[in-house]
Amino acid sequence: MKKITLPLLLALAASVGFAQQGADIVGRIVGGQKATIAIPDFRGAGKAANFVATFNQTLFRDIEDAGVFKMAPKSMYPLAIPQRPEDFRKPLKYDPNNRTRAPWLQDWSEPPVSSDFLAFGYTAEQDNQIVLFGWLFNVKQPEVSSAQVIGKIYHGSLDEDGARKVAHEFATDILKQFGVESLAGSKIYFVSNRSGSNEIWVMDYDGSNQKQFTFYKNLITMPNVSPDGTRLAFTSFTGGAGPSIVIHSLETGRKIPFYNQRASMNATASFTPNGKQIIYSSSASGWAQLYMANADGSNLQRLTNTRSIEVEPKINPKTGNEILFVSGRGGPQQVYKMNIDGADVTRLTTGEGEASNPAWNPQGSHMAFAWTRGYSPGNWNIFIMDVATRDYVQLTQGAGRNENPSWAPDGRHIVISSNRGGSTQIWSMLADGTQLRQLTSAGVNEKPVWTK
């Protein structure tokens, strides 16, 4: 079993993300070169000025986090920042050292900025709303008339939320030009103890807008979300009779009936791709084994039949057939794969260390998981494995406990929990291990699930 090299993985991530878009852009990016983009700070007119800092931060971060651009260094930007296309005036002869003339495209395309694209515009207040005028220019073009890629007006409420909304929408439009699904609008559910007990919380993908979702004042853990994003399943100790599965609607917030079979433990539930069935682990036989049931818990079928501990079943979101799961059937816990009928069981991890938390990427080709391979028990790192070839790559390198990876809807980012900073918090990263960002800081936060 060989390890995947990082460039290979990146190329894979790139080919997944950029399949269908404009050939020259794709060529440049898949060829290993990222396009460079400059995003000078926008200014705000009237009351919009109060929220323009939030706007600038959100836009820059959305674009940077997508990982498809090289960000032109801000310190190299020219002094004259255009706010509208008509601010550009073509000089008779371009002189980079003439600092008094009007902005021109080459200010951005030539060194030291050396950018391919420029996002610019401004925010203003209109009818008690924020209005964003956003443009994306290809500054390599010779004329303003051919440079415009995007020119659009966005509206939001006149507050921080509105500033974030228009920034997310503009970023989404920019990324769409490059065939990349924006993460803006995606949510991360997670477990937090900050209210005094373990509850499910939810936040925007960038860590903003953190809100408590459950209020059981008990032990709630191990969340999972249905592929269509409408239902949340978690493991709850609220009944007093041991861990059981509870399902909530994410649309109404209300509890949805689920029949827990008679067992001291029903836990680690996840959904099939069509959302019609649930697979979970139950100790009804005396050992934690895997079962499949309808979304309401009926029509129960047993999937595994061993005298070992088996948890965390996850169905391939693309094929709806292969199940990844964690089992102690061969000794210390490892990740295995089987068909949905329980046949063709194979161990995916090498048997070294302990392995857990398998998570399919949205394309159903790779799994992210936690593994102690190379470290003593309890020292988990995040790995990604090509499920077909079993080639793997290690993303984290021994900095604390790193667990519970979950893929972003774009299939290019993951979110994990890590105690590398002292306490256990939620971090996001590009699936090559770069662009690490800490999303939470209050209390203990763990077991993130990234959803649409």
């Binding site: 836990a267 965390e312 102690g328």
Partner: protein, 259 residues
């Protein structure tokens, strides 16, 4: 005339003053203002924290009774007590129930170092070991369970009952038969727990298996199965929070709780 001359003089004086000021500024740029007072204090060696007192009352107890640790510490950033008590506030008290003679060490730490203080609780076996067959009539179900039923411990990632736990469970089984005979309506919950190293999900299954294996052992010895419930807490409710084998071994347990 007078006023004119006077103002001219004043102007000249002012100009020369400014000129002098200018020259001085250009010639000798002032050094950056020293961060007065802050630097020296920051550099002064930090004194180790002081343990004002750390006592136990009473210092000798019978097994099952409580002793109260009391302490007060000044100047510490973190204060902790071993034996699983973990991090504590700078001043406080805590009841402990050691089952054998135990020394508690309080460690108070800041940048200057660590101060420690140790007290010992001497535990005597109960004067007359209460034979399970003749419980004191005043005992209720809960206190009998906590007095007579002992936790058992497991090896890492294992749920089979260890040799040393068999003896404990045999004693537990005898005691339970007596207790259940006396309290026909009560049940006992067996909690399965794990140490922090395995994954939370797998440990939920492992804790369940530990509780079930414990229940199976007791029922084989004749304890009525319908009086025993099992629940797994995985690694969610550790009794000890340090990352060391001393602590992990205490967390890998079946714990008995009266209902």
């Amino acid at each position: 005339m007078n006023t004119k001359r006077a103002s001219a003089l004043a102007l000249a004086l002012t100009l020369s003053f400014f000129a002098a000021g200018c020259r001085k500024k250009v010639g000798v740029p002032p050094p950056p203002a020293a961060p007065a007072a802050v630097a020296p204090t920051a550099k002064a060696p930090v004194k180790k924290p002081m343990v004002v007192f750390f006592t136990v009352e009473p210092s000798t107890i019978e097994r099952g009774q409580a002793a109260v640790l009391k302490w007060e510490v000044t100047g510490a950033q973190t204060v902790s007590i071993n034996q699983g008590l973990g991090t504590v506030t700078a001043a406080g008290n805590r009841s402990v129930f050691p089952s054998s003679t135990t020394s508690y060490t309080l460690s108070a730490t800041n940048e200057g170092g660590t101060s420690t203080e140790t007290v010992t609780v001497n535990v005597k076996a109960p004067a007359a070991v209460v034979p399970p067959s003749t419980p004191a009539p005043s005992d209720d179900f809960g206190s009998m369970v906590s007095k007579l039923i002992q936790d058992i411990y497991f090896d890492y990632d294992k749920s089979d009952v260890r040799e040393d736990s068999r003896a404990t469970l045999t004693k537990n089984a005898d005691a339970l038969k007596t207790i259940f005979g006396k309290f026909p309506n009560n049940t006992l919950t067996i909690e399965g727990h794990c140490d922090e190293r395995g994954s939370a999900e797998y440990n939920l299954g492992l804790g369940d298996r530990r509780a079930t294996a414990t229940k199976e052992f007791l029922t084989q010895l004749g304890v009525s199965a319908d009086r025993l419930r099992t629940i797994s807490y995985g690694k969610e409710r550790p009794s000890c929070t340090e990352s060391s084998e001393g602590c992990w071994s205490k967390n890998r347990r079946s714990h008995f709780v009266a209902q």
